[in-house]
């Protein structure tokens, strides 16, 4: 009896210890596998491309660049929206990857959190990258990463619809001519334009070409130019030039509307160019209020080098990133990702292979980083209020000027706090 009792006690003790141990190791494996302890020769890389596995061109290129630097690169693909929080958590636990490829407006947030190194610290060369695209990675004069490429917005048009309405796409050069074209299309019984005016970052992204195209500035949301831009959108909805669904449209659902063939125009991104070519759609740059191409926001990811305990790793990491982001490799990569290369030489190489990219290269040439102009982490706060104002005006629950005034007040209240 004693024996069985003792055995039971021991068993319980073991069980408890086991549970406690798994709990402890669970903690320590999260906290303890800090960068320094990974064996040298193995580098970690997180990107937002879970759709590409090791056998894809991208996966092979990553492995190849690692091999050139004499190390192996372990690549993990995460969902884009997941990656920011994953990166923040990893930063908190001190086990950031060596290379982190993140959406460009997130760079300033991560830089502010102190988990990214500057090019001064990591020795990464920014090469011949165009300043306007590099802008998203620059905070207070310090550069925190290099772009993998850039995508942006333009106006796709359906030649069949325009022809039926007797509109020449070349005649669309400013807002007046665009609105006139929309009126003609509507008169011909078709639908004018579709875009994404949703209450998320996508909505701000889509509104910015018009906002900047009017000459408005993100530091002053209630300027007359900003009101002019928002009025353009709300008038389109009121007059039936744009469908009511733009209020809830993501860029994907807006594109699906355009693909029905009933719409004359669609404001959409570089990533749709293959699908556009398939349906025979053309593309023009988004016009500014008084003519010329409007500044458009840049999309696309940035290579960043998170802080490591072992600073000696940066040298090799920079080598891998330079291999991935420069020369002939980046042209191939950007072609598969539907990006425009961030350097002029690269853009020329792309144009040579595919002259139809002209509109996109032009658009990227006048593009602006959302977090640029040293807005940094102020941008997310401003953007949230901007899309809220856009929503209020679109639904008619406030006039464009009232909505933007309230937005600026909210921004002021948040940023001074």
């Amino acid at each position: 009896m004693q024996v069985s009792r003792k055995a039971r006690a021991i068993g319980v003790a073991l069980l408890t210890a086991g549970v406690a141990a798994t709990a402890l190791t669970g903690c320590s494996s999260a906290g303890g596998s800090a960068s320094g302890s990974t064996p040298s020769g193995s580098y970690t890389f997180w990107d937002p491309y879970p759709q590409y596995d090791a056998t894809s061109a991208w996966g092979k290129l990553v492995a190849q660049c690692g091999a050139q630097a004499g190390v192996t690169v372990t690549r993990t693909g995460y969902d884009t929206s997941d990656l920011t929080n994953k990166a923040l958590l990893a930063g908190q636990q001190g086990n950031s990857p060596d290379i982190l490829l993140v959406d460009n407006p997130v760079v300033s947030t991560l830089a502010d959190a102190g988990i990214l190194t500057t090019t001064g610290e990591n020795g990464l060369s920014t090469g011949a990258i165009a300043q306007n695209i590099l802008g998203a990675g620059v905070v207070d004069g310090k550069t925190y990463g290099v772009p993998i490429g850039a995508n942006t917005l333009a106006l796709y048009y359906n030649p069949k619809v325009l022809k039926a309405a007797r509109v020449d796409p070349k005649s669309v050069t400013d807002w007046t001519t665009l609105t006139a074209a929309l009126a003609k299309v509507k008169a011909a019984g078709k639908k004018g334009i579709t875009f994404s005016g949703i209450n998320t970052e996508e909505g701000s992204f889509q509104f910015l070409p018009w906002f900047w195209g009017a000459g408005a500035d993100l530091t002053k949301l209630d300027s007359p130019q900003a009101v002019q831009a928002l009025t353009l959108w709300t008038d389109w909805i009121k007059k039936g030039y744009a469908p009511n669904s733009v209020i809830q449209n993501t860029q994907t659902t807006s594109w699906q509307e355009f693909q029905t063939g009933n719409f004359a125009f669609s404001e959409n991104g570089t990533w749709q160019k293959a699908a556009a070519a398939q349906m025979g759609a053309g593309v023009i740059t988004i016009p500014a209020a008084t003519g010329g191409a409007a500044p458009v926001p840049t999309g696309g990811e940035f290579f960043t080098l998170p802080v490591q305990k072992d600073t000696a790793r940066y040298k090799t990491t920079a080598k891998i990133v330079e291999c991935l982001s420069q020369g002939g490799n980046i042209v191939t990569t950007d072609n598969t990702l539907n990006y425009i290369v961030a350097s002029q030489a690269g853009q020329q190489a792309q144009l040579k292979a595919d002259p139809t990219l002209k509109t996109w290269v032009d658009a990227v040439g006048v593009a602006k980083a959302r977090t640029g102009d040293n807005l940094g982490i102020k941008y997310p706060v401003i953007s949230q209020q901007l899309w809220t104002a856009v929503q209020k005006a679109e639904t008619g629950s406030a006039s464009p000027s009232d909505a933007l005034k309230a937005a600026q007040q909210a921004v002021d209240a948040k940023l001074t706090k």
């Binding site: 009896m1 004693q2 009792r5 039971r8 006690a9 319980v12 003790a13 069980l15 408890t16 549970v19 406690a20 709990a23 929206s81 920011t84 929080n85 923040l88 930063g91 908190q92 407006p105 997130v106 947030t109 991560l110 502010d112 959190a113 102190g114 988990i115 949703i198 209450n199 998320t200 970052e201 469908p243 009511n244 669904s245 209020i247 809830q248 982490i377 941008y379 997310p380 706060v381 953007s383 949230q384 809220t388 929503q391 209020k392 679109e394 639904t395 629950s397 909210a410 706090k417």
Partner: protein, 323 residues
């Protein structure tokens, strides 16, 4: 007891020899202590599990809401303690009262309709008729579908220009209603979808409650000349009370935290017209490029407090009815 304890004492000479000045075990008999230890040992996995997966996250959530976290202090972990400042800021936020009101309307209207329809269907299906089982199974479909699928389907159906709901209404001469894109209708649209999703849960629980009522009561009542209406209000409804209260409480908690349906259908919009507390909390924490963890946790805690108040009042009611 003594028979068991004495051999155990003598069987443990090592500790006695090693530590002669060990009076502590004298307090309770060692056997008792050991039994208690064993009991704790068996409880340990559950205790550890609860602490790790319930108590700690809850503590962390409260901690987040009492400190001023920015992305930087999230990394460095030195966020200053600000007391109830986050709660004050949240209540002063122009989104707070609209989202409270939206939450109240959403929860109240959802539960009233889900419960009424669920109960009506349960009573209906309690009678035996042909195809009863088949029809009842059909009513469970909303429950089986992944929320992502049903919410997306509803949002297609409610589409202003090409949705089936509007084309149906147009057949009756009712003009286009912007279900998801007008501030007046968006909450109604998500409510309709949520009621549809919640009916099966109420149906199943109320149906099982009905099975617990003895048929003899109904026989006696009909002998006394009670009609159907009287039978329902005098027998069925009062006897279903325990099941009703728990169904309502569960429904309350489920509806309070509904997130997916609203997020997929309207993103809480247009503007804030369908923003509930759950949606708002998500928007603060993950909805923008710059996560505001403290405010998100604060709104989350407001939700927890509301659920707690209702949970406690349920427990109290329960105790009173048992006493």
């Amino acid at each position: 007891m003594t028979v068991i304890t004495s051999p155990t004492r003598s069987a443990a000479p090592a500790p006695a020899g090693a530590a002669p000045a060990a009076p502590a075990p004298r307090r309770g008999s060692p056997g008792k202590r050991r039994a208690q230890l064993t009991a704790w040992g068996f409880a340990a996995p559950v205790v550890v599990y609860l602490a790790l997966f319930y108590a700690y996250p809850l503590y962390k959530n409260i901690d987040l809401s009492l400190r001023h976290y920015t992305v930087r202090s999230f990394i460095t972990g030195d966020a200053p303690f600000v007391g109830l400042q986050n709660f004050v800021a949240i209540i002063a936020n122009p989104t707070f009262w609209p989202s409270m009101l939206n939450t109240a309307i959403f929860v109240f209207v959802s539960i009233v309709f889900q419960f009424a329809i669920g109960l009506a269907l349960a009573v209906f299906f309690f009678k035996n008729f042909r195809l009863n089982g088949f029809l009842r199974a059909l009513f469970l479909v909303p429950w089986l579908l992944p929320l992502l699928v049903s919410a997306s389907t509803w949002s297609w159906m409610f589409n202003s220009d090409s949705g089936v709901v509007n084309s149906f209404l147009e057949a009756f001469g009712i003009g286009q209603i912007n279900w998801l894109t007008s501030p007046q209708w968006s909450l109604t649209a998500v409510l309709i979808a949520n009621i549809w999703i919640g009916i099966p849960f109420n149906l199943v629980i109320m149906y099982s409650g009905l099975q617990g009522i003895s048929p003899e009561l109904y026989e006696a009542a009909s002998l006394d000349g009670a009609n159907g209406w009287q039978r329902f209000w005098r027998i069925t409804f009062p006897l279903l009370r325990p099941v009703t209260t728990i169904t309502l409480l569960l429904g309350f908690v489920y509806t309070l935290k509904v997130f997916d349906i609203i997020w997929i259908m309207t993103r809480g919009g247009p503007a804030t017209s369908s923003t509930t507390l759950a949606i708002w909390s998500y928007q603060l924490g993950f909805g923008s490029l710059l996560p505001d963890f403290s405010s998100a946790a604060t709104v989350g805690n407001v939700l927890i407090i509301i659920a707690l108040i209702f949970g406690l009042s349920y427990a109290r009611m329960q105790r009173r009815s048992e006493a």
